[in-house]
């Protein structure tokens, strides 16, 4: 072998050497930044989150009302009107003037304040619903896909089983049942749960009901992802090196499979928000007077002929929020999966 090349170092120019490393996450983030709709949506969602978290502070600062403050004598105030409030109990008129930017409902409650407080319910349902579903679905799907064989078979038969559940009728029945609990004395551990639910304005059981029925699709997706990665050679390499199951799952599989799962959950958030809005719409969501956009829309529907703002204000908030989550989700999907951009 005369023309034998020594295995010499690959030579590189200075610039190439000092270039910063590009992580896959960083690439995705840069890609997302290019997507204007997604970035605007992200900003909007952040504003919503801040609003939801600071609603009480804004109330204490006197910018907005509490969600249940009733301005006496000003039922159905039109938007952009102000009224003198006589909320003092002692009969002495209080000279404080309150302006209803978006009007007030039949009880004289400021619509803007209630809409801001309503952000809490929608975001909580959206994030916790998707969070619970992501958690259960991922754990279930990863176990099923990773261990395979009989375990996988059994677990997937159970998922198939759940696929036959008609979501809406069953969730309605579940909510009817949970609602009946909140008025009853049940005692024991159940009482603790009922108390939690009451203190959360009826949201807790909503999370349970939504979470219990919505992780199935996520489990299938997670399993499929794990199946496609676990046969990859880098997993085999980790095994050859002596890595245990937990290390392989957490260090090698999860970081690779989680992207599409998060994208899919982001795109599912509007679904949870819809579900809550719909359940509140038929009176099976959060307990009044906790404001929820769905409940507000339903309440406003009766007077839509003369007071359309009662529907339009919470309706716009609901539509904009779901729009933002959809744009963000689409943007994330494109950023994570360059193939879909069609380049």
């Amino acid at each position: 072998m005369a023309t034998r090349e020594r295995a010499k170092p690959v030579t590189l120019d200075e610039e190439e050497l000092l270039r910063k490393p590009r992580s896959p996450m960083g690439d995705a983030w840069r890609q997302l930044q290019k997507n204007k709709a997604a970035m605007i949506s992200l900003a909007f969602i952040i504003v919503l989150i801040v609003m939801a978290l600071t609603a009480d502070l804004m109330h204490q600062a006197g910018w907005i009302d509490d969600y249940n403050t009733q301005h006496r004598g000003v039922g159905y105030a039109e938007p952009l009107t102000c009224a003198n409030d006589d909320k003092d109990e002692d009969g002495v008129p209080d000279p404080v003037q309150f302006c209803f930017v978006f009007g007030a409902d039949e009880l004289g409650r400021d619509l803007l304040s209630r809409t801001i407080y309503g952000t809490r319910v929608s975001l909580a349902v959206g994030f916790i619903g998707s969070g619970v579903s992501l958690l259960i679905g991922t754990v279930y799907g990863v176990i099923s896909g990773y261990y395979g064989g009989r375990i996988d078979n059994l677990m997937m038969r159970f998922v198939d089983f759940l696929y036959g559940i008609p979501f809406l009728p069953l969730i309605i029945l579940m909510q009817v049942y949970f609602k009946s609990l909140s008025n009853a004395e049940v005692g024991g551990l159940a009482q603790v749960l009922v108390d939690i639910d009451n203190s959360m304005g009826g949201m807790f059981f909503l999370f349970v009901a939504l979470g219990a029925l919505s992780w199935i699709g996520m489990a299938r997706l997670a399993r499929g992802q794990v199946l496609s990665y676990k046969e990859k050679e880098f997993v085999e390499a980790a095994r050859a090196v002596g890595a245990g199951d937990l290390r392989i799952i957490f260090i090698h599989l999860l970081p690779n499979v989680i992207g599409p799962l998060i994208v899919s959950e982001t795109l599912a958030i509007p679904g949870y928000i819809f579900s809550e809005a719909f359940l509140s719409f038929i009176g099976l969501g959060v307990n009044p007077p906790t404001p929820s956009w769905g409940a507000m829309i339903n309440a406003g529907r009766e007077g839509i002929r003369s007071k359309p703002y009662l529907v339009l204000v919470p309706g716009t908030a609901l539509a904009l929020t779901t729009l933002a989550f959809n744009f963000l989700g689409d943007g994330l999907r494109d950023a994570f999966d360059p193939r879909l951009r069609g380049e």
């Binding site: 036959g164 559940i165 008609p166 979501f167 009728p169 029945l173 009853a184 539509a319 959809n326 069609g342």
Partner: protein, 353 residues
Amino acid sequence: MSGFLEAVKGVALRIADAIVRALGGTSMVKYIIRRVLAGIPVLLAITFAAFALIRAVPGGPFDFVGTKQRDERAVAALEQQFGLDKPLLIQFFNYVVNLLRGNFGPSLSRTNLGTPVSEIIAMKLPISMQVGIMAVMLGFGLGIPLGVLAAVYHNSLIDYTATFFAVLGRSIPSIVLGPVLILIFAVKLQWLPVAFWGSEPGVWIPPLNVLFSWRYISHAIMPVFTLGTGMSAGIARLTRASLLQVMRDDYIRTARAKGLPERTVIYLHALKNALIPVATIVGPLLAAVLTGTFVIELIFAIPGLGDTFVKSVSERDYNLLVGVTILYSAFLILGNILVDIMYTWLDPRIRYD
């Protein structure tokens, strides 16, 4: 006589054979049969869940008895008449036995007391189906052209506009879109009738002979549009992605290289293949129609199955609630089987044997 039987048997066998072949061979038939059989325990479990859940809620169907105060004796008599005094498991067993005979039991609601639930379903289901089917038609009719347009003019203004509208359509919840449409077209413009909150008599009458009357159409436009836009958005997105995928495949490039005009390539070659995955949306769509009509019926006061279900909750009409849940569940299970079958037909790599 035996010759006649032989002939009948021969014909029957030939028909069975044709069906088997149409379904894609015996393994597929076996697969379908097994899947349907596997659906039975699911159905049974869901029946039991609904059955137990609704009975666990305080209050019963006969709380309306007695004007000022509850008449315990009358309630007890009614409960005995409808078998509600028995232990839960016995009731369930009786219910399932009846179910196997195709009997969903009598309605327990105040207004329809004793009417067979199957009769109520037979009356309400067609109404829901009309809305659903028209919405699906609108969904495909709007969604496919939109998706094709977006894919053909990929990364152009048209694409962005179409995609934007698709996201918009997906994002506006029907509980918002419905009332807004009513506000614009019924209240302000007064072009269409407000079909809700009981101010109007029930005009939603199903017979086909009124299908094309303006009265029927005018009542249908808003609910169908409300339900259909969300679907069309999903279909448009799927069509676009699928078409883009197919257009990148080799044989399309070959067709282009052969010099076929762009439009022929798209219509003849790409679209045919691109629509394959779109067809599989039928499963999720079925679920969307089922749950979608729930919402639509409430907003537009359409006396369909969803509307009846929600009303029955407060009336504690046990049999109707359970019956409708079973019906929806059966639809879902069959829909899922249908989707899996379509996948095997469309993708020969998947085998079920």
